[in-house]
């Protein structure tokens, strides 16, 4: 008899309990995910980024805002691994701390957006009728704007800064989640097990929270991962246009904006944060792509 979490236990054809069955399903998914080389690259890169951002004070031995005007725009060297920017600040340290800002924004947006979209979509899908029509019209209105343009207008009205950028991106990012959750809800709404739950006297709120929302989670998670790259790009674009994080905060888009004048002679100064944005966004795309294949093959 093999122990819990051993390979045989995880691949068992006859799970002994609900928890066991769930672990078998997760392990199978992981095996399928692991076979996708590009997705693994994405996963590892994302993991490295998270660790590097959390450990930024340990990894960067220079202060990201310490200026040294005498040593400005220096090329990469032993003292400054990625060179220095237009105010002589260490770019390596700024990239690491910038990762905190970017990942922080991404997490904040997703945490704001996914529950809202999930709630709107599942309520609309489950209740149907007037509630469905009203909620979906509101969703359509927000979908009718291109994301960046609406975000720009919002930020301009609110005052440029990180908080405004997060709110603005969140306001434009929730509608697709509502659409997804509604579609998933519609497919399970008429099933027998929901009817059975209703017969036991469960309220609509309980059915939506306990039985419908969990079933919408896998497509929402896939969408979240794929969305993160879009959020990174929008946040960076806002920063680049001067409407996101404000200098001297080390945000990647803002760093490119403030150093773009030096691209002719010191090309690496604006290029390095550009590479950081690209790598971060690509990693999330690869990860999301792989997760979609495992969790939600329909969404291709």
């Amino acid at each position: 008899m093999s122990g819990v979490l051993s390979r045989e236990w995880l691949l068992s054809e006859t799970p002994a309990s609900r928890a066991h069955a769930a672990w078998v399903r997760r392990y199978r998914g992981w095996l399928q995910f692991r076979a996708n080389g590009l997705a693994m690259v994405g996963l590892v890169t994302v993991a490295i980024m998270i660790v590097a951002s959390l450990a930024a004070p340990l990894l960067a031995w220079q202060n990201p805002s310490a200026q040294d005007l005498a040593g400005r725009l220096a090329p990469p060297s032993f003292a400054h691994w990625l060179g220095t920017d237009e105010l002589g600040r260490d770019i390596y340290a700024r990239i690491l701390y910038g990762g905190r800002v970017t990942l922080g924004m991404v997490v904040a947006v997703v945490l704001l957006v996914a529950p809202i979209g999930l709630a709107v979509g599942s309520v609309a899908g489950y209740l149907g009728g007037l509630a469905d029509r009203v909620l979906m019209r509101v969703t359509d209105v927000f979908l009718a704007f291109p994301r960046l343009v609406l975000a720009l207008a919002f930020v301009a009205a609110l005052k440029p800064g990180i908080t405004s950028a997060i709110i603005a991106i969140a306001l434009t990012a929730w509608p697709p989640y509502a659409r997804l959750a509604r579609a998933d809800t519609l497919t399970v709404r008429g099933t027998d097990f929901i009817a059975a739950v209703r017969l036991t006297g469960a309220t609509s709120g309980r059915i939506i929270l306990r039985h419908i929302m969990p079933l919408c989670m896998s497509s929402v998670i896939v969408r979240m991962t794929l969305d993160m790259s879009g959020i990174i790009l929008t946040a960076a674009a806002l920063g680049f246009l001067g409407m996101g994080a404000q200098p001297p905060m080390p945000e990647w888009g803002t760093m490119i904006a403030s150093s773009r004048a030096f691209i002719l002679d010191q090309w690496w100064v604006p290029t390095i944060p550009g590479i950081a944005i690209f790598v971060a966004s690509l990693a999330f795309n690869l990860l999301g792509d792989g997760m979609r294949d495992v969790l939600d093959p329909r969404q291709r």
Partner: protein
């Protein structure tokens, strides 16, 4: 279905105007102080407030905004001191020119890539296409634009710099459509034509890569689904050539769905255009929007936002319509 998608248009339009109106009202920049000055006496402030209609209740203000909108009045831009509608008419054609060129390039390259990748699913070619298109979805447009300028304009010197036309040619071609490539052909001015085309190439290619990534991925996904159909097996059993099966049978079946994707990709270009135009100083709606933003010119910002939203809405509707027209299965 068709009726309901049309019925939602006025509602969506209403929402669009309401959102832009509300954004305009919560702005931290006080329009009264912007006009009357910081130290204006109270009676002047009251007069300006009355003149702008800001003393009325919010609902009345929104009504006035709607009535003005119906008359094509989006207010006056503080920056250019022209009516915003005039400014938009001035800047919009350049965006149209850029976006149309970009989508054309993206279609010509993106669709064949997607089709071939699907036909050779899992091959090296397929993986290469996947990486190239994922990279296109991940690269920040402004970084790509800056690097293009650095490499092709500064280092290699084979591309012209920013703007729509070289200074030497400016003002030579009479404005007809506002799209310089077309206007110079109408005027028969070939020097201007080649210069305009050369200026168009870089921003159009950057934007094209951005939407090509999306088009390729969708084409590939649709094709893989189509190729697994049973009619494909029938076609193979009949002994038809692989090319014919691929393009006539499989591609013919996804063409309708692709139209929707293309319309969405075209709408998505509006977003990319905002950034691309800023980097390339391309005198389009995106540049107008960002310059107005930096000057806190709210009338212009909201006008441009509304117009972009409108175009987006129309394109989405068009995608829906085409889909219903072309596919008899959707009644």
């Amino acid at each position: 279905m068709l009726a309901s998608s049309f019925a939602s248009v006025p509602l969506t339009l209403f929402g669009l105007t309401l959102v832009t109106f509300l954004i305009g009202r919560v702005m931290p920049i006080d329009p009264i102080i912007a006009i009357a000055g910081d130290h204006a006496p109270p009676d002047v402030i009251a007069a300006v407030r009355e003149q702008l209609g800001l003393d009325k209740p919010l609902l009345v203000q929104f009504w006035i905004y709607l009535v003005n909108l119906a008359h094509g009045d989006l207010g006056r831009s503080v920056m250019t001191s022209h009516p915003v509608t005039e400014d938009i008419a001035q800047y919009f054609p350049a965006t149209l020119e850029l976006a149309t060129t970009a989508i054309t390039i993206a279609i010509i390259i993106g669709i064949p890539l997607g089709v071939i990748a699907a036909a050779r699913q899992g091959s090296r070619f397929d993986h290469a296409v996947r990486v190239v298109s994922l990279a296109g979805q991940s690269v920040p447009v402004f970084v790509l634009a800056l690097l293009c300028l650095l490499v092709f304009y500064v280092k290699l010197g084979i591309a012209p710099g920013t703007g729509q036309l070289d200074v030497a040619y400016e003002g030579l071609v009479p404005r007809v459509t506002g799209m310089l490539v077309i206007d110079s052909v109408i005027a028969g001015d070939w020097d201007s034509f080649w210069d305009a085309l050369a200026h168009l190439a870089q921003p159009a290619l950057v934007l094209a890569y951005f939407s090509m990534a999306y088009i390729t991925r969708m084409t590939r996904a649709f094709m893989i689904e189509a190729l697994s159909g049973e009619y494909i097996i029938t076609a193979r059993a009949k002994g038809l050539s692989a090319t014919r099966i691929l393009w006539r049978h499989a591609f013919g079946n996804i063409a309708v769905r692709l139209v929707t994707v293309l319309a969405l990709a075209y709408a998505g270009l509006l977003e990319g255009a905002v950034i691309t135009e800023t980097v390339f100083s391309w005198p389009g709606l995106g540049l107008y929007l960002t310059v107005s933003l930096l000057n806190a010119d709210m009338n212009a910002v909201l006008g441009a936002t509304l117009v972009v939203g409108l175009v987006y809405l129309v394109l989405n509707l068009l995608a829906d319509l085409l889909y219903r027209l072309l596919d008899p299965r959707v009644a």
